[in-house]
Symmetry: C2
DNA sequence: GCAAACTTGACAATGATTCTCATTTCCGTC
DNA sequence: GACGGAAATGAGAATCATTGTCAAGTTTGC
């Protein structure tokens, strides 16, 4: 694991704090606006840099919306897991499926693929929406 | 199903033909260059429009690369399926996993989600690379 | 053959993300 | 506590895929 060494700064702390406040996946742009509203002055480029770094260290999860925007979320589980995301309110539930992992590994092996990684996200409308 | 009625044109045929020639997922930009190289004069906007329309009618499969680019592929199977994609050569194998579909449905229901849809792609390095 | 409706293409516009680079901040050291 | 080099930041420019615009070209039904 190539854990990047980042220097602790006010800005990075602010980004992490903002992420901790929500259960939804948020885009860099949304986080930036949110921070500015709260009075924290953090540059947009810095928000992007911080999120990218956090994602590289697996401290946040990233996924792409249908529109191609990257959205980030601080997850409770450190381990590999997937998400059930409400397409209306954006709320996300962390789920894991050992069966899926096995299936993916089996299928990959059967076709001679190595170093496999997979993405699996479920989108729907939650009971509150 | 809201099947869009499209008028048959030289350009759309060219895009489909180009897609049929390859087993890899290709971006709109790549297809456009390919068409121009082959001498077929098709505007970039038209390539985008055609691909979007085809995707809406489920005649091609779309997925997003890590870089956020949309890539398209003409698939043999009309039914719902997933892909095992080589990250080196781009070759894709169509696979399906009934177990995964069941699992997704079960998990969604357990959390009260409706109208669920999921994305699942596996990336790896194939035996030829 | 004709008009209405649809499609195309060149280019502008958009919007997220990344790059640039001068300035600021952090950290170990003196 | 001050100092110097390295890393981080911010403002704006630059990039790049994708979408919008609109005049001109095609297709279809009649």
């Amino acid at each position: 694991m190539t854990e990047t060494v980042r220097r602790p700064t006010r800005q990075q702390a602010a980004v992490l704090a903002a992420l901790d406040e929500v259960q939804e996946f948020m885009s860099a742009q949304q986080l930036h606006s949110r921070l500015r509203e709260q009075g924290a002055s953090v540059g947009l480029a810095t928000v992007y840099r911080t999120l990218t770094a956090l994602a590289a260290d697996d401290e946040v999860d990233v996924l792409r919306t249908d529109e191609g925007e990257s959205v980030y979320r601080r997850c409770a589980s450190e381990d590999h897991h997937h998400h059930l995301v409400c397409r209306a309110c954006g709320r996300a539930v962390e789920v894991d499926g050992p069966a899926v992992e096995d299936w993916a590994a089996r299928v990959s092996a059967a076709h001679g693929f190595r170093d496999v990684r997979h993405t699996l996200e479920i989108f729907g409308t939650c009971d509150r929406c």
